[in-house]
Amino acid sequence: MIGTVHYLALSAVLFSIGAVGAVVRRNVIIIFMSIELMLNAANLAFVAGSNSLGSMNGQSIVFFVMTVAAAEAAVGLAVILALFRNRQTVAADEIALLKW
């Protein structure tokens, strides 16, 4: 029988994949999508937790997290767009005027 722990383990795996993606890719949009994946992993944990506790709070929280993620997407893509306009690139390692 599949229990809460399985769901949480799955969420941990997704979380880690997202974290790895955020580090290893140089395309900032893919980095950003990886971070979205991490947020979704958290959502899965909330829903699984909610189910195991028999309390609906977790589901309500997911509702807010989705909103936050949507807001983040709007702002993040706008940031990327503004940068792209000036630099014609979305490669993380080419964006390094500010250093030391």
Binding site: A19, R26, A92, W100
Partner: protein
């Protein structure tokens, strides 16, 4: 220990409200200079600066006379307001004048006033006149806060304030980068001392709170020092003494004082000879109860003092810059004061603070007068015969030299003799030997300085000689007053064996206890004889050697060999510190900055080959400010945390 300090008399407070104006008056002066100084011109600035200090002096005299005229143990206090308070401790802005601080405020305002007066003449051609006097007045205010404070935090305000002003005044001629860096060095070395001061204060405070005592006043600390745990009083006293070595230029933190001579000469006289540098001595005397509770710390104070007195004196022999000689002599004399404190003779230490303020201020101002008259010549090898051109400077300077050399009848003799006698009486034979040796060397190099400057024939460029002139009255008047003080200043503390009644020690007794020598009259006279003989030997030797001119240095050089070179280069302590402290710190900064923030991350991220290549330039190519590397750091941080927690937990369970 033969000597025993009598109990400190319980204090009898008199509440007044005028003490606050003592530091406030110079502070008002500062505001005046800053706001109006440039508009109202030099005369106004000079006048206001001197008047402000004069007001302080008058009020200080009032407080002094009150203490003098009242019963022993009288303390005049002025509680302004509650400054800091939290659940467990309070610190007020409270000024208090007892016997100890009354001597200090008299010296600070009195000598300070003379030096302000002198500066009007000395700085007459200075462009930034108002700024100079603003700093000078600010310094006076800070020094007065330091001396008048009745608790440690308030003292720290003055403590940091004088350090800051010293920094600003050393670097006053900011066009000269070397001078600016001397200022920075002074400030940084002082900051190391300050860290000691703060940590010491914290230690004591912490231990006091454990006793249920939330007050940091000196009275409380001294009264309850004996109840503190031994380690707390020892650590607290030692840390505070680190602060004192910074401010009062003792081993190992004395290195800033010789460099501080880059500042204008009146500044050297006021801050780096007469007042600020004695702050450490004052602080230790102020907290004598604490230091007595930690005899080991007191021992350290004495040993450091004696060692500094001797070491600095040897360096003084080989210096050629008139101000450098005086600087090392200051370091050396401060060593005597700490020697006195270390053997429990607080009164003698403070006595020397006072006499030293007179004669050292005199010597510095005299040197300033010479430098001024010879158009900024500072090298004594290119002086000589100045006595003809500057009779007043010459006469007063000579008195200063005799006083510092310890010639009987002048102020330095009485105070130094009391210190040496106390050391001997306390059974500190080694310290006594150091002291006598140092006294002899002091007499030697001061005579050398005097002879090379004022005697013989002028050795410099004849243009300078032709234009050499005696200084104006604003400058010579303070010299004369200080010379008078340097001569008679010692008579307040004539020891009983010479028919005096040691009035100075009696007066200070309520603050710091009375130090009984407990020596037979014969012994005391014998000691006196030895130190006088030592001084006269030094004077005579130097007189004979240097009458022929500065080439006599060669004799010493031949005799002492490599040691002489070391003495001239002040044992290269600066280079040692640079190698041991400054360079490692700078390297650490570069390394941390490049490695943690740039190198490791990039190096790791770009392959181990890069990690091996540690050459700075090689790394630059990779240090990209790349956000990927930042993200990687975060992830590695998370992984490390998770790994550490998981492993420790699993092991914990297994164990």
């Amino acid at each position: 220990m033969h000597a025993a300090a009598t109990e400190v008399t319980a204090s009898l407070p008199i509440a007044v409200s005028y003490l606050r104006y003592i530091p406030l008056a110079p502070l008002v002066g500062v505001l005046f200079h800053v706001a109006l100084g440039y508009r109202l011109g030099r005369r106004a600035v000079g006048l206001v600066a001197c008047a402000a200090v004069a007001v302080s002096f008058a009020l200080a005299a009032k407080a002094f006379l009150t203490v003098l005229g009242s019963a022993a143990g009288t303390v005049v206090t002025d509680n302004v307001y509650q400054w800091l308070s939290s659940g467990e401790f309070t610190a007020n802005v409270t000024f208090s004048v007892d016997a100890l601080s009354s001597v200090m405020i008299m010296v600070v305002t009195g000598v300070g006033f003379l030096i302000h007066l002198y500066s009007i003449g000395y700085m007459a051609h200075e462009e930034d006149y108002a700024r100079f006097f603003a700093y000078l007045n600010l310094f006076t205010a800070a020094m007065l806060v330091l001396v008048l404070a009745d608790n440690l935090p308030l003292m720290f305000v003055g403590w940091e304030g004088v350090g800051l002003c010293s920094y600003l005044l050393i670097g006053f001629w900011y066009t000269d980068p070397e001078k600016a860096s001397a200022g920075k060095k002074a400030f940084l070395v002082n900051r190391i001392g300050d860290a000691g001061f703060v940590l010491g204060a914290f230690t004591i405070f912490w231990a006091l709170v454990d006793l249920g005592q939330g007050s940091l006043t000196f009275a409380t600390i001294n009264a309850r020092a004996a109840e503190l745990p031994a380690w707390a009083s020892l650590a607290g006293a030692l840390l505070l003494f680190v602060g004192a070595t910074g401010k009062s230029a003792q081993i190992p933190l004395y290195v800033w004082l010789p460099d501080a001579m880059a500042g204008p000469t009146p500044v050297s006289a006021l801050i780096h000879a007469a007042t600020m540098v004695t702050a450490g001595v004052y602080m230790v005397a102020r907290l004598h109860g604490l230091f007595e509770a930690a005899p080991a710390a007191l021992q350290v104070v004495g040993i450091v003092g004696a060692a500094t007195a001797l070491l600095a004196a040897t360096i003084g022999i080989a210096q050629t810059d008139i101000k450098k000689v005086l600087a090392y002599s200051t370091v050396s004399q401060l060593g005597y004061m700490f020697l006195a404190l270390g053997v429990g003779a607080y009164g003698a230490g403070i006595f020397h603070v006072m006499t030293h303020a007179f004669f050292k201020a005199l010597l510095f101002l005299g040197a300033g007068s010479v430098i001024h008259g010879l158009h900024d010549e500072q090298d004594i090898r290119r002086m000589g015969g100045v006595a003809q051109k500057m009779p007043i400077t010459h006469a007063t300077f000579a008195l200063g030299v005799l006083a510092i050399a310890g010639v009987p009848g002048l102020s330095g003799f009485f105070s130094k003799d009391e210190i040496l006698a106390s050391a001997y009486a306390g059974g500190h034979f080694g310290l006594w030997i150091c002291g006598v040796l140092g006294a002899s060397i002091t007499a030697f190099y001061m005579t050398r300085l005097y002879v090379l400057t004022f005697r013989g024939k002028f050795r410099g460029d004849h243009h300078k000689w032709d234009h050499a002139h005696e200084s104006p009255i604003q400058m010579t008047l303070p010299l004369m007053v200080l010379a008078a003080l340097a001569v008679v200043g010692g008579y307040v503390g004539v020891p009983e064996v010479l028919g005096g009644n040691n009035a100075f020690a009696e007066y200070l007794a309520p603050s710091v206890g009375h130090h009984q020598l407990g020596l037979a009259a014969g012994t005391e006279l014998m000691l006196m004889g030895i130190s006088v003989a030592a001084a006269l030997t030094g004077i005579g030797l130097a007189w004979v050697m240097y009458s022929k001119g500065p080439d006599a240095d060669l004799i010493l050089k031949n005799k002492l060999g490599g040691l002489y070179q070391q003495m001239r280069e002040a044992y290269n302590i600066d280079a040692v510190y640079d190698a041991l402290v400054v360079q490692p710190l700078m390297r650490a900064s570069d390394a941390l900055w490049h490695s943690v923030d740039v190198r490791v991350i990039d190096g790791v991220a770009n392959g181990t080959a890069a990690a091996v290549n540690s050459a700075g330039e090689g790394w630059r190519r990779w240090s990209t400010g790349n956000v990927q590397h930042y993200m990687l750091t975060v992830l590695v941080g998370v992984a490390a945390l998770i790994l550490a927690l998981t492993l420790s937990s699993l092991i914990g369970v297994a164990g």
